[in-house]
Every structure is written in C-alpha cells, then in structure tokens.
C-alpha cells in the first residue's frame, strides 16, 4: 500500500491501494437479476419499495374514501378498513421508507460517495435484497389468506392483535410477523454492509470528516437500525409464540365470550416497550438519511458550503444516541409512572435541540446563497418547512399534559404524517430528481416536475392542516365511522370530505411522477456529466451512469471536503473533492 507521499507539485500519485474483491458477472442472470453490484441492488430495492409503497398509497385512498364519504362504498367493511389502516402504516414505515433510504439510496450512494468500487460484502448484499423481496411477498400474500391481512393497527399491540375478533387474527398476523422477522434478517445483512463499507472501504483522502452528510446520515441511521430492529425481532417472535403455541409473553389472563383463555400473567406493556424501543429510533432511521440528503442538495443548488458541517455531523450522532431514550413518549396513556413520563418528556424536548440546530444550519446555508430553484431544491425547501411543522407539533405531543387529551386523535395522525411521512417523502423526491441524471444520464421533465412539486407540497398541507384541527376538536383516529357525536361539529364531516378529495388529487400527482420517471428514462433531456456541478465523488466517475467498479481503472484520491462551493479566489464555483490542488484554476 502506498504511503501517499506527494511529489514536487504537491500531487499525490494515483492510488496504489489494494483492490477490494470485485465480483464480475458472467451472465445476464448474474448481471441483472442475482446481481452483486450495489447499483443494481439499489435499483432492485428501490423498485420493490416503490411498488409496495404504491400499494400502501392505494390503501390510504381507500381509507380516506371511507372517512370522507361514509356509507357510500359498500366494498369497504369495518374489517377491511382496519386492514387498510394496518397495512398502510406498516408498508409505508418499514417496507417503503426504511428500505428505500437504506437499501435504495444507501446501496447506490455509499460506495460512490466514499470512493469504493462496491460494498465490502457483495454476496451478502445480494442476499439482503432477495430476503427483503421475500418479506415483501409474504406481507402482500397476507391480503389473500383466509381472514385477510392483519387489522390490528400498525403497532400490532397484543392482546387484540392475536385474539379472535380482530381482522386477520390468525393467518394475517402470522404472515405479518414472519414477514417482519425476515425483513430484519435481510436488513441486518445489508446494514452490516453499509456500516463496514463506510468504515473500511473509503478511498485515499476520504477521512470521516470529508464524507458528505448523506453518507453520515445513512451511516448513523444504519447503526440505529442494527440496534433497534432486534427489539422488533424479539417482539415479533414472542408474539408469534403467543399466537401459535399459546405462550404468555404478552398475553394476560383473558376471558373472551365468557370463556377463560389459556394465557396467564403476560404483559401487553412489555410488547409496547419493545415495539417503541424499535419504533422511535425508526423515526430517525428514516429522518437521518433525509437530513443528510437535504444538506447535500441545498448546498449544491445554493452553490454554498453547508453551514456548520461539524455541528451537522455531531447533531446526527447525538440525535442517533438520544433516539434510544425517548421511546416511552409513545406510551403516556399506558398508565406509566408520572416520573417516567417526566423523564421521557424531558429527553423528547432535549432531542429537539440538535434537530432544531440542523434546521437553523439549512436556513443559514441558504442565506445569501446563489439559490437555484431547481426541482430538487424546491423539494428540499418544502422539506425544511414540513419538518419544522411536524417537529413543533411533536413538541406538543412530547409533553405529557398535552399528549393525554390529544392521544388517539387525528392530531397525532397529522403530526406523524408531517414529520415522518410527508417530510421524508419530499426528500425522496428531491433525491430522485437530483440523482436521476447520474443514474440514467437524463433529466426528469422539468414541467412535470413543477406540477408534481406544487401539487404534492400544497396538497399535503391542505390534507394535514385540517387534520390537525379535526384532532384538536376531538375526532378520534382508527374509527371506521364517526356517526353523530355530540362534541364533534357537523362541519368535521365536510372537512373530512375535503381532505379525501385532496388525497386523491395528491395521489394523481404521484401517478404523473411515476410516468415522468418511466418516460424520462428513455426520452428525457440528456444531462451530460455532472449537470449540477457538484463536488462529490459520485459525479466524478469515468462514465455517467457509473459503470461496473464505479471509477474506471483508478480509484479517486480525495483532497478536500464535500462542500467546496464558491471558494474565494477560484475560477469555477465548485471544486470537486478529487481535483488535485495544482489543477484548481485561480480566478484572475
């Protein structure tokens, strides 16, 4: 291995590092189907996640049709409504957002951004995708088994999740739990790859503090996932044993229809603790990669270095750590000791500090920047606003005294959809518009992109602002039909109709987005190399899209951080990470 000694010109000779093992596919099947190339695996992950995400989207339309126009659609029964609610939640949180951010973006961007040829364990990476696909298929199969999918709510709380009377309380819940366990096994294979690749396969000069924040976000989120998913794994297995062989991990003594069931002394609260020990870090498993992506995109499209890079890295790490000690703020109404409530309310407020710090830094990055209002930038600005909105209502709900009356109302639904539904999805859109030229060599259509952005952004606010209000007046969540209720004004029904219509309009915008992708892959305007004039390594490869092995014959050597935009005294308004110091043209 070279010691990296510079020659007289101050340039380090080409990398003479040991090449990592790189699998070379020999057939169509091993190149495109059972591929070990992280870029192909990324596309497989992304396509599967988006497809199952579309199923989740359709389920949300069905739910909203029932809520907006009750007693209109005869095919929506109370049982199927609960199944839509459950499957929508689980699909969107786990099978779409987690899989897309980590399996999709992680696989594509980590090796390219750190200057590696591929993931360190390509075979395991391939297995990770196929295990994920198996989990998705098992989950989807639960729609077609006797009794249908689980209708227990996405939190799957026992006892009701496995007791007769809940939709899908036999095959539905079993398949859901099996699918989750398989998903976690698959994720662990992928997650080890992401973390170890960042630690072990960075190219020469790519120190940790020169890594783009996208990589930092995915890296820390993956560590969170590796430590949080085991809680769901354990809860899933115990729940399955309670269902299948009659153990009593979570099942207390229960009399159902006058008959004493065989369980004794189990603790439903134990499940809740395990679920939320996973569930709250899950918010940041989704949010941290989004934070990273936003940082990189706004810096690139504002032609300005990210404000407070070191603070941003520390904030990601601190948020990651704190996310493990806030879980019980989801359980204030479970009858917990008030002192615990105080503790978890305090930690919840504390985690808002590094999060707010990131928001300030994004705004300060935009301040006096040369802002290009491209589609990715628009989505990022929308994200900043939306995350701020969702974060502030989170402070409401983190407070025990406010949370208890608002618990189980639509206020909670509106809050978490803003903060971990709409906000990360806006970042996913930003990322797709930003990196689509890298993946295909073409732009997505600008006009359709504008339509997609404005309808999605404004439409989301027209859905969730009224929903906050509905929650505030007491409209409960998870009700099939509210009917006539004394404390809910009749205007709530009108507002519900309005929300449903907006949901369908925003849904239509997503159809336009999918069409834009499919058409632009073949007919989009050619983008050339590095169309956004970005500094990061993924844009500096030998070819666009990057070929097998990512970087041609020689790995890049990194000389600087990822945010050298508008550097004083330099002719161009960006300096790629791998441009040797003597090749940087000074302005005259």
């Amino acid at each position: 291995m070279s010691e990296g000694i510079m020659d007289e010109t101050g340039v380090v000779p080409p990398a003479e590092t040991e090449e990592v093992y790189l699998y070379h596919a020999k057939s169509f099947w091993t190149k495109w189907v059972f591929s070990q190339d992280a870029k192909i695996i990324s596309i497989q992950y992304s396509a599967t996640a988006i497809l199952i995400g579309l199923v989740g989207l359709v389920l949300s339309w069905l739910m909203r049709l029932q809520l907006g126009f009750p007693e209109t659609f005869s095919f929506i029964s109370p049982e199927s409504y609960y199944q839509y609610v459950t499957m929508h939640g689980m699909i969107m949180v786990i099978y779409l957002l987690t899989a897309l951010f980590l399996g999709g973006f992680g696989n594509y961007l980590i090796p390219l951004m750190v200057g590696a040829r591929d993931m360190v364990f390509p075979y395991l990476n391939m297995l990770s995708y196929w295990t994920y696909l198996l989990a998705v298929l098992i989950l989807a199969a639960s729609f077609f088994v006797p009794g249908g999918a689980s209708g227990a709510g996405w939190t799957l709380y026992p006892p009701q999740s496995i007791l007769e009377g809940t939709p899908g309380s036999f095959w539905g819940i079993i398949l859901m739990l099996v699918s989750l366990v398989i998903f976690i096994i698959g994720f662990t294979m992928g997650g080890l790859n992401y973390v170890v690749t960042v630690l072990q396969a960075r190219t020469r000069g790519m120190t940790l503090m020169r890594m783009p924040l996208t990589v930092w976000g995915i890296f820390v989120a993956t560590i969170l996932a590796l430590l949080a998913f085991p809680a769901l794994f354990v809860a899933g297995i115990m729940s399955m044993l309670d269902k299948l062989i009659g153990t009593s991990f979570f099942m207390p003594e229960i009399i159902q229809a006058g008959e004493l069931l065989g369980h004794e002394s189990g603790s439903p609260l134990l499940f809740q603790h395990l679920f939320w020990f996973f569930g709250h870090p899950e918010v940041y498993i989704v949010a941290l990669p989004a934070f990273g992506v936003v940082s990189d995109i706004i810096s690139t499209h504002a032609r300005k270095n990210i404000f407070g890079y070191r603070m941003m890295v520390w904030a990601i790490v601190i948020i990651g750590g704190l996310s493990f000690i806030v879980w019980a703020h989801h359980m204030y109404v479970s009858g917990m000791n008030p002192y615990f409530g105080f503790f978890f309310a305090t930690t919840t407020l504390i985690i808002a500090v590094p999060t707010a710090l990131k928001l300030y830094n994004w705004v300060l990055t935009l301040w006096k920047g040369n802002i290009h209002l491209t589609i990715p930038m628009l989505f990022c600005i929308a994200f900043i606003l939306t995350f701020l909105n969702g974060g502030i209502t989170g402070l409401f709900l983190g407070n025990v005294a406010v949370d208890i009356p608002l618990s189980d109302t639509l206020f909670v639904v509106a809050h978490f959809h803003m903060v971990m539904g709409i906000a990360p999805v806006l970042v996913i859109f930003a990322a797709i518009y930003h990196w689509f030229p890298l993946m295909t060599g073409r732009y997505l259509h600008e006009g359709w992109g504008q339509f997609h952005f404005w309808v999605t952004f404004l439409g989301s606010y027209l859905i969730y602002f009224p929903m906050h209000y509905l929650g505030f007046v007491g409209v409960p969540r998870r009700y099939f039909e509210i009917g006539e209720t004394s404390f809910i004004p009749p205007s709530a029904a009108t507002l519900n109709e309005f929300i449903t219509i907006m949901v369908l309009i925003v849904g239509f915008a997503q159809v336009v987005f999918i069409a834009n992708i499919l058409i632009s892959i073949f007919k989009g305007k050619l983008s050339g190399e590095n169309p956004w004039k970005a500094t990061t390594l993924e844009w500096q490869g030998a070819t666009t899209p990057p070929g097998h092995g990512n970087f041609g014959d020689e790995l890049p050597v990194v000389y600087r951080w990822a945010y050298a935009y508008s550097v004083p005294g330099v002719e161009a308004d960006y300096v790629p990470q791998n441009l040797a110091p003597d090749k940087v043209k000074k302005s005259s």
Binding site: G4, V120, L199, T207
Partner: protein, 205 residues
C-alpha cells in the same frame, strides 16, 4: 487516530495539499471481517439483552414458577466451554502456523458444539416429558425461547465453521483460513458468555 479527535476536525480549514488521510484505504487497522463481526455481535447482544430484561421483569411476579435445572445443562455447559477452548487452540495454532493443530482444534470445537445442541434438545425433551410445556408458565416460555435463540445463533456459527472446515479439507493453507478461524473463535467465545449469563439467570430464578 481516535474517533473523537477525528470528529473535532475542521475540514473547511484543512489544506488540500496536505496528505491528510492519503495513506489510508479505509481507516481501521482491523480486517473488514472483524469489523463486521463486532457490529453483528452488537446487534445480537441487543436481542439477548432485551429478552433477558423481559425475563428479569417477569420473574418477580407471583405467578412465575421457576423451571427445574436438569443436570444435563451442566454437561452442556461443559461441552460449550470445551468447544470454546478448542476453537481458541485452533486460533493459537494459526498464529504458530501449525496446520494439523488448526484442523484438530476446529474439528473438535465444531463437534463439541453439535454435541451441545443435541444436549440442549435432549433437555427440551426431558422437560417436555415432565410436563414443562412452553405454554404452561411464563418461566417455561422464556426458557425455551432463550435456549432456542442461543441454539439458533450457534447453528448460524456452525455454517461459518463448516465453510472453514470445507476450505481446510480442500487444502487451504493456514494463511488462507486464519481470519475465518479467528472470527469463529470470537463468535464462539461470545456465545459461551451469553450461555453462561443465561444459565446463571436460570439458576438464580
């Protein structure tokens, strides 16, 4: 360089012509496999820690009826300790480049591990024969769950062990399989510690 030193750097002030980080391919001096194993062990630890916390939480409930402690569990524990020692011997032999000892240590370690798993299954059969079904009491449920989780992790280790043995039988040199043997040994020691904690928990409850 320590991680905290690294995280306090100011990359925007760094001189790009300095050779910072240029002598690295990655940063860790550890082999990639060892780094991955450490993360894997952290993940597995969370599984066991959470299950043990659940166990510890429930064991103070009045309905908790502790399981008996079959003498076979002591034998199984001895088997797992011996297996760990054999794996350690294989690793030491790797460092001394003695191929025959590596082979012997690896084979003995694996065979003893299989014996441990068979022993655990025998304990299950014994307890079930005495009427201690998993569904009867929460203590029973936790016992079967924890031993199953531990046994499954050991079986997973035996897959990796099998690959090392296969390589050895195909004529691999000590250098070729040294890393695999070291990884197996670390994993075996880890599972031994986990088992000792579980066994201790069973004894005190």
């Amino acid at each position: 360089m320590g991680i905290f030193t690294e995280l306090t750097k100011k990359p925007w002030l760094a001189d790009p012509s300095a050779d910072e980080g240029l002598n690295i391919q990655g940063t860790s001096f550890l082999p990639t496999g060892k780094v991955a194993l450490r993360f894997l062990l952290c993940t597995i630890s969370v599984i066991f820690i959470l299950t043990i916390i659940g166990y510890a939480d429930r064991m103070y409930f009045p309905t908790w009826k502790p399981m008996p402690e079959p003498w076979m569990l002591w034998i199984n524990t001895a088997l797992l300790i011996a297996s760990s020692v054999a794996m350690q011997w294989a690793t030491k032999s790797c460092r001394r480049n003695i191929l025959t000892s590596v082979r012997d240590g690896l084979l003995i370690g694996g065979i003893l591990s299989f014996a441990f798993i068979i022993g655990q299954l025998y304990v299950w059969e014994q307890l079930a024969g005495l009427g201690y079904y998993a569904s009867l009491n929460m203590a029973n449920g936790f016992f079967y769950l924890l031993t199953a989780l531990h046994g499954l992790h050991l079986l997973g280790g035996l897959v990796a062990w099998g690959r090392s043995v296969y390589k050895l039988l195909r004529g691999a040199s000590v250098v070729d399989i040294r890393l695999s043997v070291e990884l197996c040994t670390t994993y075996w020691h880890y599972l031994l510690i986990i088992w000792l904690i579980l066994f201790g928990l069973l004894l005190i409850s």
